[in-house]
C-alpha cells in the first residue's frame, strides 16, 4: 500500500497508468523526432542531414512498428483493443488513435518505398530466385528507373514528407493532448502539453540520431561527417531550449498565478518529484546538455572532430534520459497527486516482471533496434549516402550494390 501524505480520495491512491504509459509517449516521441530529422533533408533540402535522412526514416518506421505494444500491454482487455479502431467513440481524443496511427503508417511506408524504390529495383536485378521475386514484388513489378520516373519519385517524396511532417506532429501532439485535455488533473491540464510533448519528441529523436549515426558510422568503419554532427547538435540545442522553456513556463505560470492547483503541485515537485524532476530532468538532463551543446554550437570552429563527437554523444545520452524522465514525471507525477488537491501518495516503482514491468519496458526499447537491424538487411540504409559524392542531387547515381553489401 502506498503511503499518503494529507488526504487523497480513497480511489486516488493507485497508479493505473504505469510504466507502459510512460513508454508509449517515449516511443512515439522517437517516431516524430526522427521524422523531423528526415524532413530537414527531404523537405527542406538541408544537405548536412543527407547522411542521416534514411537512417532517420528507418528509425521512425521501426519505432512506429512497436508503438502500439505498450498500449496493448497496458490494456485490461487487450483483446478488445481493436474496438478503438473499429467502433471508436469520437468524443474521446483517444478514439483518434486508429485514424492517426494508420494514416501516418501509410504515409511513412509510402515515403520509404519511394526513397528506396531505385535501390529495390537494382537489388531485384542483381538477385536470383526467391530473393529476386521478393524484391520484384517489393518494387511492385515495375523496373522503371528512367529519369522521368525518378523525378516523379523525388516529387512524391517531397509531397509525402510535406504531409508526413504535420502527420508526425499530429501523432505525437495527440499524445500530449490526451494528457493536456484532462481538466480533472491540474498537473496535466494545459494547452502547452501537446507542444511540450512534440518539442521533447524532437529532442529525443535528434538525440537518438546523433547516437545512431555515430555508432553506425563506427561499425561501418567510417568517420561521421563533421557537418552532420554539428548540424544535429545545433538543432538538438534549439529543440532543447524550446522544450525546457515550455516545461518551465507551465510551472512558473502556475506558481506565479498562485492557482488553486499550485497548492498541491508545489509540494508534488518539492517532495515526490524532487529527484526525477529537479535533479534528473532539469539539472542532469537539461542544464548539463544545454552547456555541452552550447559549446558544440558556439565553438564549433575550434573543436576537434573527436571532441565534438564526444560532447554531442554525452549530451544526446543525457537528453534521452531527460525525455524519459519528462514522460515519467508527467505520467506518473500526475497520478501521485490526488484530485482532492489535499494529498500526495508515495512514489511509484514499477515491478520487475509482468506485462507492465521493467523487463518488458527494456524489451520495448530494444525491439525497435532489432527491427532497424532487420530493416537494414532488407533495405540497406547506407546505400545512398555512400554514393553521395558531394553533389547532393537526389537523382545522383546511386552506389553500387557491392558497396552496400560490404557495409552490412
Amino acid at each position: 500500500m502506498p503511503e499518503i501524505t494529507g488526504y487523497a480520495f480513497p480511489n486516488d491512491i493507485h497508479v493505473h497508468w504505469s510504466l507502459m504509459i510512460v513508454m508509449y509517449p517515449y516511443i512515439t516521441g522517437f517516431v516524430a523526432g526522427a521524422f523531423i530529422v528526415t524532413s530537414l533533408y527531404h523537405l527542406f533540402d538541408r544537405q548536412e542531414f543527407k547522411p542521416v535522412a534514411r537512417l532517420a526514416m528507418a528509425t521512425s518506421f521501426c519505432f512506429l512498428g512497436v508503438a502500439t505494444f505498450p498500449l496493448l500491454m497496458h490494456l485490461g482487455h487487450p483483446e478488445r483493443g481493436v474496438n478503438v479502431v473499429v467502433t471508436p467513440n469520437f468524443s474521446s481524443a483517444m478514439a483518434g488513435f486508429g485514424l492517426l496511427y494508420s494514416s501516418y503508417l501509410l504515409l511513412l511506408v509510402l515515403e520509404i518505398w519511394f526513397v528506396h524504390r531505385q535501390q529495390i529495383i537494382e537489388t531485384a536485378r542483381r538477385s536470383r530466385g526467391l530473393k529476386r521475386f521478393a524484391y520484384k514484388a517489393l518494387a511492385l513489378f515495375t523496373y522503371d528507373t528512367s529519369p522521368e520516373a525518378l523525378a516523379i519519385d523525388h516529387r512524391a517524396i517531397k509531397v509525402l514528407a510535406g504531409l508526413g511532417l504535420p502527420g508526425a506532429c499530429l501523432l505525437h501532439g495527440y499524445v500530449g493532448f490526451i494528457f493536456g485535455a484532462i481538466k480533472a488533473n491540474p498537473w496535466w491540464s494545459t494547452p502547452l502539453m501537446p507542444v511540450i510533448f512534440l518539442v521533447s519528441a524532437g529532442v529525443s529523436g535528434i538525440a537518438l540520431l546523433i547516437l545512431l549515426y555515430q555508432v553506425t558510422s563506427k561499425f561501418s568503419g567510417q568517420k561521421p561527417e563533421a557537418a552532420t554532427v554539428s548540424a544535429l547538435a545545433r538543432w538538438l540545442w534549439f529543440f532543447l531550449i524550446i522544450a525546457v522553456t515550455l516545461e518551465l513556463l507551465e510551472i512558473v505560470v502556475l506558481a506565479y498565478e498562485k492557482s488553486e492547483a499550485w497548492a498541491i503541485i508545489g509540494p508534488l515537485l518539492a517532495t515526490r518529484l524532487e529527484f526525477s524532476f529537479i535533479s534528473v530532468q532539469m539539472i542532469m538532463g537539461s542544464l548539463i546538455p544545454f552547456i555541452l551543446l552550447m559549446i558544440v554550437t558556439l565553438m564549433n570552429r575550434f573543436l576537434h572532430d573527436r571532441v565534438r563527437n564526444t560532447l554531442s554523444i554525452v549530451a544526446a545520452l543525457l537528453l534521452l534520459m531527460q525525455v524519459f524522465s519528462m514522460r515519467w514525471n508527467v505520467v506518473i507525477g500526475g497520478q501521485l497527486l490526488s484530485k482532492s488537491f489535499r494529498g500526495l501518495r508515495s512514489g511509484y516503482s514499477p515491478d520487475l516482471w509482468g506485462r507492465e514491468g521493467l523487463i518488458a519496458a527494456i524489451g520495448l526499447v530494444v525491439l525497435p533496434f532489432v527491427l532497424l537491424w532487420i530493416f537494414d538487411r532488407v533495405l540497406p540504409i547506407k546505400y545512398s549516402s555512400e554514393g553521395h559524392g558531394g553533389s547532393g542531387a537526389a537523382s545522383s547515381p546511386e552506389a553500387s550494390g557491392a558497396m552496400a553489401e560490404g557495409h552490412s
Binding site: M1, G6, Y7, A8, F9, P10, N11, D12, H14, H16, W17, L71, H74, L75, G76, H77, P78, R80, G81, N83, V84, T87, P88, N89, S91, S92, A93, M94, A95, F97, I178, I182, K183, A184, N185, G334, Q335, S338, K339, S340, F341, R342
Partner: protein, 257 residues
Amino acid sequence: MDSDQKLKEILDRREFLGQALLLTGGAVAFLLPHGAEAAELDVEKEGYDWSAHRYAYLIDPSLCIGCGSCVRACKRENNVPDGFFRTWVERYVVGGESSHVDSPNGGLDGFPPLSVGFNATKSFFVPKMCNHCASSPCMQVCPVGASFRTKEGMVLVDEKRCIGCGYCVQACPYGSRFLNEETKCADKCTWCYHRVTKGMKPACVEVCPRGVRQFGDLKREDDPVRKAIETRFVSVLQPHLLTEPQCYYLNLDREVR
C-alpha cells in the same frame, strides 16, 4: 390403469412440445443482437419504463454521523473489491487556521477518535460517490463508448465493451472510478441500477439511519428530492468544472472539494 398411463404419455408429449417451443424461442432470442436495445426490452418486460424517470441524488452532510453503514451496504450489495470504493465517507475537522480531512478505509469501519493539533471549531462528515454527471468527462473520454448514460440519467459502464484503458479513471475529477482488478474493467457506483429498476432504493440510501442520503425522481412532481433541489440552497461538488453533477448537496461547507 392403462388409460392413466396413456394420459401421462400425452401429458409428457405436451410437455415435450412446450419445452421444445421454449427452447426454439430461447435460441432465437440468443441469436438476436445484444446490446442497449435488448436491455431496454428486458427492462420494459418487467413493467419498467426507463424513459419515465430522471433520477437524482440528494445528500445532507449535516445529518451524517459517519457510521459507515452506507459504505458497508454498498460493498456487500455490489461486491466492491477491498481497497476500492463505489462510495465513501469523508471526515472534516476544521478550525480557523487549519483543517484536517480523512477517510480511513473509506469510512467502511466507521471513524476512530481523532485529535488534531489545532483548535477545531467545526466537524462534519461528507458521503461521496459517483455524481452521475450530465456532462461527464468519463463518458466523453471513453474511446469505445463503454461508459454511457441511461435514459434515467445514470452513468454506467458496459463491462462487455470496456477495454480497461483507465482513461475514464483519470478523467473523473471526483475520484469515483477505479479499475476493478477482477473484471479488468472500469468500475463505479451505478446508483444500484439493478435495484432501482425493480422499484427499490440504492443500498446506501436504504441503510442510512439518518436519512442523509435520498434518492429521487425529477420526473415526479411530488418527489421530495426534486422539491429540495428546486426550493432549497443546494450545491454540487467542483461546480467550476461544469460537469453538471446529479448528486446534490445541502449545507455544503467550502472546505469540501
